[in-house]
Symmetry: C2
């Protein structure tokens, strides 16, 4: 079999623009959209072209949702929890504090009803969502002073957006929302006492370890945060089926790929940070417990007033509990044994 020179000649040439929420400097996250674009190009012999724009190039990073909804761009790559202001339920498409791990999020989305439920949520907004990457559990952030118990959080100014920030506020923290580039100077001049970003690989590049030596784990507000591809529904419906199939498959590959890439990049970055003098700490138990209780109190309260949140939450909560019952058996025992030996 040989390739005919114009193998895809009869397929329409389609040029789409993808608006990413992310800067190119977050190369692992940003790269998922480039992988998608590259694959679609190669599978279709250059006929389905996706041009990727970094956050701010076409639309501001936090307006990707609106841009896809309105059809300003055909598709986007973003984190749905940026849009909890529209509906808190969008966080299920990324991460709920104390929620699913990366593996569990995939199980939920692809097989546990998550994709179906979140697509119902997105449909009135004219958006079709696809899982589009995961960072794995993030770190809990950089603190200028050690946190020995819950009372050390009182009045602390911490850069932590979203639901994590809402829960931290219940614990006495004064949460702040700052873009990535603004965190370092604020931390340096003392306008911030603490800041969370992503994990060792991305954090190292921003240099937080030079000014805040205490590095906490885990980022309980992001136990397995999923990124998402969004496609405008009309544009999707107009797409030839072969292109839709290619898109769905390549999006799944990008989803898998990002987690694998982070898992390869984070370990050496953590070792370098520790060598440079960073002190690693687990959050104190009373902080973890108070945050856990505040998180589920928030969900229960929201479920009472937000029917679309309640619908997803009741299924998600049950799935989460079953996953925990399973993962605490063989997976946890295997992993914890290896940790004890090395």
């Amino acid at each position: 079999a040989s390739l005919a020179p114009n193998a895809f000649a009869d397929l329409p040439t389609i040029k789409w623009r993808l608006a990413s929420s992310f800067p190119k400097s977050l190369d692992t996250i940003y790269g998922a959209a480039e992988l998608l674009s590259d694959r679609l190009n190669k599978i279709t012999g250059g006929k389905f072209q996706l041009r990727v724009y970094a956050g701010g190039e076409l639309v501001p990073g936090l307006q990707v949702f609106d841009a896809v909804q309105q059809g300003t761009v055909e598709c986007g790559h973003t984190a749905s929890y940026y849009y909890v202001g529209k509906n808190m339920a969008f966080a299920f498409d990324t991460a709920m504090p104390f929620g699913l791990t990366a593996r569990q999020q995939n199980a939920w989305m692809y097989f546990g009803g998550g994709l179906k439920l979140t697509r119902e949520l997105f449909k009135p907004y004219n958006i079709l969502n696809f899982p589009g990457g995961n960072t794995g559990v993030q770190m809990g952030g950089w603190f200028r002073k050690e946190i020995k118990s819950l009372k050390d959080l009182q009045g602390l100014k911490m850069r932590i957006p979203g639901l994590g920030g809402q829960i931290m506020a219940k614990l006495g923290v004064v949460p702040q929302t700052l873009a990535g580039g603004d965190i370092y100077p604020a931390l340096e001049r003392g306008a911030l006492d603490a800041a969370e970003w992503v994990g060792p690989y991305d954090d190292e590049k921003l240099g937080f370890h030079k000014i805040a030596k205490h590095y906490y784990y885990p980022g309980w507000w992001e136990g397995g945060p999923q990124l998402s591809f969004y496609v405008n529904l009309q544009k999707w419906n107009d797409l030839p089926d072969a292109y839709r199939q290619a898109f769905e498959t390549a999006a799944a590959e990008a989803n898998l790929n990002m987690l694998a890439e982070y898992d390869q990049k984070n370990p050496p970055a953590l070792m370098r940070l520790v060598k440079s003098g960073v002190k690693l700490h687990a959050f104190p138990k009373d902080v973890m417990n108070a945050a856990f209780e505040a998180a589920f109190a928030l969900y229960e309260a929201e479920a009472k007033v937000n029917p679309s949140f309640a619908r997803i939450y009741s299924e998600w909560k049950q799935f989460h509990a079953l996953q925990t019952q399973w993962f605490k058996v063989a997976e946890a025992n295997y992993a914890n044994f290896l940790y004890s030996r090395k």
Copy 2:
């Protein structure tokens, strides 16, 4: 844009046969090949056809390697550790006892050099390998009597093939190799004292819980076993690039998909087994430690006499140690906290 009726008319029609090592009854594993076939068909508008044959239909399940090598079939779906008789290093393409978890295996294969190293190993055999699914950590198997310490393993007849069996033999077990369908009768009539298979979802279907009440974890010989797609190298080289791209992408999707599907199916199966009276046990600490030491002694000994094993092992060991250093921090702390609360 609309779909021209013969969109892929200029692409050659290619019909391949895929020999699976697995029976259709192992639906989650077997299904990965069907997913691959289905996607390729749809992406190419029916021009790239992959017909999937279950183990034994075209070639015996354990001869998929040879069939792909010789070009009897164009491609296959199998577990590379079936072929440790050719070279123990093939186990790196599936699972080494006390080796990488499913997430870590993906990080190693796609970004940590694993795919490159294993492809060098396969190349003289005329085979190109692709990750093609993962079950997650398996269970440690079904025992008729409780295992309280290492001495309870002495003389035990256990169905456990491969490297796990070799290591169990060093612990005093008499390992047996039996096909899936032969295990239940052997266990029932007392020809076996114990048997390992996969995990709750697959084990439940074979009914072991009716005759052996003690269900152990973890399956330390399979901490994240990867399945693989094999393609005959000449057939691959003859493939149009668009089809190669589609194959690689769809194989990655199938890889992601299998783990997510197992993670969705195993938890309720485990709950049903426990409800039916099965007793869950962790392997005793002395068993785990003795097995761990026997495993790494085996690898060190093999590395001394097998250069291709030594080459992969030295990189793999370093990667494994770094992964452990990272996963024991945020991932372990997050997971263990959730287990303590639920």
